[in-house]
């Protein structure tokens, strides 16, 4: 048991003990413990296995940044993969296992992979996967041998509520510089949001105490001042995971993502401590000094009984004092440097007074494992020669890498400062500020002052584009970073990247193979691509890379950092899942009648109405039959519906469509075809003129929103004062079609429906069932028919009353599939189905709808050019016997002499005609031959006959049907 007596400021609640299991063994803990701290307190030192070689691993960073402490947690009936044990508070009853083991973390049956390390060189994956033939084999094998946790595919859907937050100044990081910045910004009048991924404010000042029993009074005062400042809100346990344009920062909490919009952002995230690179640096028990300090002061856990500190800065000496003050035997402080600065000297003297052996000019040779593979001895060279020390813990304190990810995403830059031996701020984008370790400030006083300056600047420049000079490292400050804490060993196993088991030789070999820049090295070696995202490896890898190339670090740059800066649960990213769906006002009426739904754009529409004892095909055929033989009613409310007002409305439509509408008579309609600048068909609809300066027109369902925006843009672009009103959602619309439609409608209106008073293609405004409606007599499905448009609030009433009126005529609602067949029988094209992104108006035989003699319309010049050239393809009708076993489908190819000559665009069995009919876009020469060879799904080819369209009622008599006919 490694739990220490109570420590001032500890995060655990000793009044609430708990137990959980790890790898089948019961482990005690307290409320407030993380999984890792409880395991460490329980004496568990091996917490995971490495990704590639399955080496035993212990806690390294204890900061949410390493792969070693990732767990599979069984809790509450759920199995949660890749839980970060370092930062996840443990709950009673959890059953926890390490990820990526075969047979458990203690006796992993894949540990033999470690012996194959020399056969798995850098870039091994790329080389192994190179051949296509063996790729499936390798893929299966590597998926089995490597990987992280297991996803529980039966887990219930969890709605995670994202939310927005707003502030004047967002301060990221609640260490001394962040606290100071927040306070200064608030004193400057700003509303401040202070976020920190830890559960308490204070940062490293709370645990890097140098043996003191309490954190320094200055930090305590700062925390108190921030807590008392009404203008500062503090969000703890939230990790700023990205930085997007206009100061949008997603903050990931345990439950959700908070999308913070700030007017200015202060980056005060501090730095990640970096490991030294030497043989055996990954043995359990070898850890960062800051990790050990966090275990001591936050969770009252002694990480070891006897330690050595491998140091290259004052922070390492302070950590040794922290260990001593909690009863941990410090065997030696092994300083890599030959001389030390004044900050170190203070701690050094105290350690010497306490009897600790302190050596300089030390080079680690090898950490050697003992029982369970944990560190038992360190061999090193000192000026006196090769030495060794017996230990059960080795703490590394050789330097830091500032967290620059968010800075890069914000558009800032860093440069390597050879005085500080780290990357420091170089430039900042407007509204972004940095302070603390990011600028090279390490002492408490430096951090507080630096933060104060940044906070003041952020508050003072709100709303302006002014920028603060990038921070400058205080002159003469003692360096906290070693220039090259990398020590090669002839036998290797000096790990740079713990996530991916990458060693010094991997970087060297990558360079030799030509991957000799940071970005190339990353992709070839996977350096920094694991769960820690390079927070502990990128800097050391860059150091080795620079040395191999014989260059200085100033000549190199860090790899691009992209959001998310930190891994985020998929459920957080998904959020609640807002997927807007549109419905017509008649939606419930369809549901009551057994509608089977289909998506149409972002609407839902009835595909057909299910009927007991009928198959889908039978139900659709019955709906088609009702329209052809009696009367049918379809909801076409999804069509785009637009009004254009003003004296220029006609001219505006002349420009939009290929046809002419400025001469359309009031009370009449006309088909409209729309093409783009290249002459490609993009939409069609019906345009009605309701008044001298008022047009009402429809667009296709899927295009309505896009086109309405485009109409507005074009009106502005052309400088035409046209009043455009989008009625798409505000009007219900039905099509009443069939021989009996006139009679059904007549029962509901006083409008004269005679052919003379309301002829084919006329439009009228009248009352139907007491409701003001717009009626258009159009041949939508090739029958006598009326399109009826009505304000949405009256849609249900009108739908019901029409169905009631048509009951004795055998009226039947019909869905989209019946509509498609009815229109196919008439040879009507569907834009987007019978056309594609390159089909022009001439290819679909729509020249009749194109008025080239107009002064201008969109696509006119292209169509004029295309008219001079032979057609590339043409839309033709074809027919087949219905009973064949091999039925073609839409998108089946048309083959001619072994080449692709076209494709089927629409096809179906016509209930009216009794055989298969379809449309195809095909080479005109092939179409002219009169036969099409269709290649069906089975690969067989069948022959169809090219026939003229319309297939049904070629003279159009049905839709022009007069009363009494």
């Amino acid at each position: 048991m490694m739990r220490l007596p109570p420590i001032a400021g500890e995060w655990i609640d000793r009044a609430v003990p708990l137990t959980f299991s790890f790898e089948g063994h019961e482990v005690p803990g307290f409320r407030g413990d993380t999984i890792s701290s409880a395991l460490a307190a329980g004496g568990v030192r091996v917490v995971g296995r490495s990704f590639k070689y399955h080496r035993p691993r212990g806690l390294v960073s204890f900061a949410n940044h390493d792969v070693n402490a990732m767990m599979q947690v069984e809790a509450g009936g759920r199995s949660i993969p890749n839980v970060r044990a370092d930062v996840t508070p443990v709950e009673p009853g959890w059953r926890i296992t390490a990820v990526n083991t075969r047979g458990g973390v203690a006796n992993d049956r894949l540990a033999w992979l470690d012996r194959l390390a020399r056969f798995l060189p850098v870039g091994f994956y790329y080389k192994a996967f190179h051949g296509k033939r063996l790729f499936p084999h390798w893929e299966r094998m590597f998926r089995a041998l490597t990987g992280l946790g297991r996803v529980d595919t039966t887990a219930p859907l969890r709605a995670t509520a994202k939310r927005y937050d707003f502030c004047d100044v967002l301060v990221i990081g609640a260490g001394p510089s962040g606290l100071s910045a927040a306070l200064a910004a608030a004193e400057g009048g700003a509303d401040v949001l202070l976020v920190d991924e830890n559960g308490a404010a204070g940062g490293s000042a709370l645990y890097a105490r140098g043996g003191a029993t309490q954190p320094t009074a200055a930090v305590a005062a700062l925390i108190g001042s921030v807590a008392a400042e009404a203008r500062v809100r503090t969000l703890l346990g939230g990790c700023a995971a990205g930085y997007y344009a206009d100061h949008w920062v997603p903050v990931v909490t345990g439950e959700a993502i908070v999308k913070v919009r700030a007017r200015a952002v202060v980056l005060a995230q501090g730095a990640s401590e970096q490991p030294a690179v030497f043989r055996g640096n990954d043995l359990p028990g070898v850890m960062l000094a800051s990790a050990a300090q966090r275990l001591i002061y936050r969770y009252a856990v002694a990480p070891a009984r006897r330690i050595a500190v491998l140091a290259a800065n004052a922070e390492g000496y302070a950590a040794a004092l922290d260990a001593q003050s909690h009863g941990i035997d410090v065997a030696a402080v092994l300083d890599l440097r030959s001389t030390v600065g004044p900050r170190t000297q203070v701690y050094r003297e105290r350690l010497l007074q306490n009897g600790v052996r302190v050596l300089n000019c030390v080079r680690p040779v090898e950490a050697i494992g003992g029982a369970g593979g944990c560190v038992a001895r360190l061999e090193f060279t000192a000026p006196s020669g090769l030495e060794s020390v017996n230990i059960d813990g080795l703490w590394m304190s050789v330097g830091f890498a500032p967290l620059t990810g968010l800075l890069h995403q914000a558009g800032g830059t860093v440069r390597y400062d050879s005085g500080a031996e780290q990357f420091v701020l170089d430039s900042l984008p407007a509204g972004t500020y940095g302070c603390g370790k990011l600028t090279g400030a390490y002492t408490l006083a430096e951090c507080i002052e630096d933060g104060r300056e940044a906070g003041r600047a952020a508050a003072a420049e709100l709303g302006n584009s002014g920028r603060r000079e990038a921070g400058r490292r205080p002159a003469g400050a003692e360096c906290s970073n070693h220039a090259f804490p990398v020590f090669r060993h002839p036998k290797g196993k000096e790990f740079i990247d713990f996530d991916e088991d990458l060693q010094i030789r991997d970087v060297e070999n990558a360079c030799q193979e030509g991957f000799d820049s940071s970005e190339l090295l990353k992709r070839f070696s996977t350096m920094g691509m694991g769960p820690s995202q390079g927070k502990h490896s990128n800097l050391n890898a860059l150091r080795v890379l620079a040395r191999v190339r014989g260059e200085s670090l100033e000549q190199h740059s860090l790899t691009t950092s992209r959001p998310m800066f930190h891994p985020v649960p998929m459920s957080h990213l998904a959020g609640r899942g807002f997927v807007p769906e549109r419905r017509t006002p008649i939606d419930r009426e369809h549901a009551v009648r057994g509608a089977v739904w289909m998506p149409a754009g972002n609407w839902r529409r009835p595909e057909y109405y299910a009927r007991d004892g009928h198959t889908r095909a039978q139900a659709i055929a019955a709906e088609v039959g009702a329209v052809r033989g009696a009367v049918g009613l379809i909801d076409v409310g999804t069509l785009g519906k637009v009004e254009a007002f003003g004296p220029h409305a006609g001219e505006f439509l002349d420009r939009l469509y290929t046809g002419r509408f400025s001469n359309l008579k009031v009370g009449m309609t006309r088909y409209g075809l729309m093409v783009d600048e290249t002459g490609v068909v993009i939409d069609d609809g019906v345009i009605a003129r309701l008044g001298a300066e008022c047009f009402y027109f429809t667009t296709t369902t899927g295009n309505s929103a896009t086109l309405f925006r485009e109409f507005g843009r074009l009106a502005t672009w052309w400088g035409m004062p046209v009043g455009l009103v989008n009625l798409t959602g505000h009007f219900a619309a039905f099509n009443l079609a069939g021989p009996a439609s006139r009679a059904v409608l007549a029962a509901l209106t006083d409008l004269d429906l005679s052919d003379a008073a309301f002829p084919y293609l006329a439009a009228r405004e009248a009352h139907v069932a007491g409701i003001a409606c717009r009626l258009m007599r159009v041949g939508f499905v090739g029958e006598l028919g009326y399109e009826i448009h009505v304000p949405a609030e009256f849609g249900v009433e009108l739908w019901r009353v029409i169905l009631q009126a048509g009951q004795s005529s055998g009226i039947r609602p019909f869905g989209v599939e019946a509509q498609r067949m009815l229109r196919l029988e008439k040879g009507h094209l569907i834009v987007g189905q019978d056309t594609d992104g390159v089909t022009n108006a001439l290819e679909v035989d729509a020249a009749w709808a194109v008025k080239m003699d107009k002064p201008y319309f969109i696509g006119q010049r292209s169509l004029a050019t295309l008219a001079q050239r032979p057609l590339r393809q043409t839309l033709v009708g074809f027919r087949l016997a219905a009973g064949g076993a091999q039925r073609p489908r839409e998108s089946n190819l048309i083959i001619d002499g072994g080449r692709i000559a076209g494709r089927v665009t629409s096809i179906g069995v016509s209930p009216t005609l009794g055989h298969l009919i379809g449309l195809a876009l095909v080479d005109p020469a092939v179409a002219a031959a009169g036969k099409l060879s269709l290649r069906v799904d089975s690969g067989a080819q069948i022959t169809a006959e090219v026939v003229p369209t319309p297939f049904y009622d070629p003279l159009g008599e049905a839709q022009r049907r007069k009363e009494g006919a």
């Binding site: 509520a161 994202k162 939310r163 927005y164 937050d165 707003f166 999308k259 919009r261 609640r576 807002f578 997927v579 807007p580 769906e581 549109r582 419905r583 017509t584 006002p585 939606d587 419930r588 609407w603 409310g637 009004e643 007002f645 003003g646 004296p647 008044g691 001298a692 300066e693 004062p721 009043g723 009103v725 009625l727 798409t728 959602g729 505000h730 009007f731 009679a743 059904v744 029962a747 509901l748 069932a769 007491g770 409701i771 003001a772 304000p791 949405a792 609030e793 009256f794 849609g795 249900v796 009433e797 009108l798 009353v801 009631q804 009126a805 048509g806 009951q807 004795s808 005529s809």
Partner: protein, 235 residues
């Protein structure tokens, strides 16, 4: 031909009538509009956050070069700037753009707005006035957790002091909420903040059910704006 029973006065239907999983097939009528009765989600007025469906209010829209003068001629108070609103005599006039307006009767003023709407649609209106049908879903949001709900659903900060605190005039916001374009007007009435939203009716089902789900999660629900005795079966 069937005998058709044509109602003397056609019933209007709320954009969410019958389409949002109501517990019973019941609705009630206000201003000739049938509205749903969500028995299972109804809360009291002091719940954390409440949704009130107010689509029944009479309203109309208009735009065009002469729209402002038409409103003035009909004695409506017109906001002087785009993206702002005024309430006078129980009638809200919102200026959505330089020459586009939304007029809605709040509690009072229903008849006056209905009459004006009829005149707007008459054939003798000025040519430079273009009627804009407004069949919107109208939702009022209130309650102490209002801000929590908004922060889950909209990227605009409506919290004071940015969100305005006025009862008779202020700015309006044209934005999107849960992926749907809305007109949003924040007001403060008797010290209580509320936000009114106008939404395209084709999104009504999605918008209402989604917003209600968020509200329920926050301890809220639907607040009926009419006594239970007024309900009946109008389906």
């Amino acid at each position: 031909m069937s005998v058709v029973s044509v109602p003397a006065r056609p019933l209007r239907r709320s954009p969410i009538d019958g389409g949002h999983g109501v517990a019973a097939d019941l609705s009630f009528v206000r201003e000739d509009m049938a509205r749903p009765l969500p028995l299972d989600r109804t809360v009291v007025s002091d719940a954390a956050v409440v949704l009130k469906e107010m689509s029944w209010r009479r309203r109309f829209g208009l735009k065009g070069p002469a729209a402002e003068s038409w409103l003035a001629t009909h004695h409506f108070h017109v906001p002087s700037k785009a993206n702002s609103w005024v309430v006078a005599d129980g009638i809200l006039v919102a200026r959505l753009a330089t020459s586009e307006f939304l007029v809605e009767a709040l509690e009072a003023g229903q008849a006056r707005v209905a009459v004006a709407a009829r005149e707007l649609y008459a054939h003798d209106r000025p040519l430079a006035v273009y009627p804009v049908p407004r069949q919107d879903l109208v939702v009022e949001l209130q309650g102490p957790a209002l801000n929590d709900l908004l922060r889950q659903t909209c990227s605009v900060d409506f919290a004071p002091p940015r969100g305005l605190r006025a009862s008779d005039a202020g700015p309006l916001v044209l934005t999107s909420m849960i992926g749907v374009a809305v007109i949003a007007i924040p007001r403060e009435l008797s010290g209580r903040r509320e936000l009114t939203l106008w939404v395209d009716p084709s999104y009504a089902h999605y918008f209402w059910t989604t917003l209600l789900a968020v509200a329920v999660d926050l301890g809220g629900g639907v607040l009926l704006d009419q006594p239970h005795g007024a309900y009946g079966d109008h389906t």
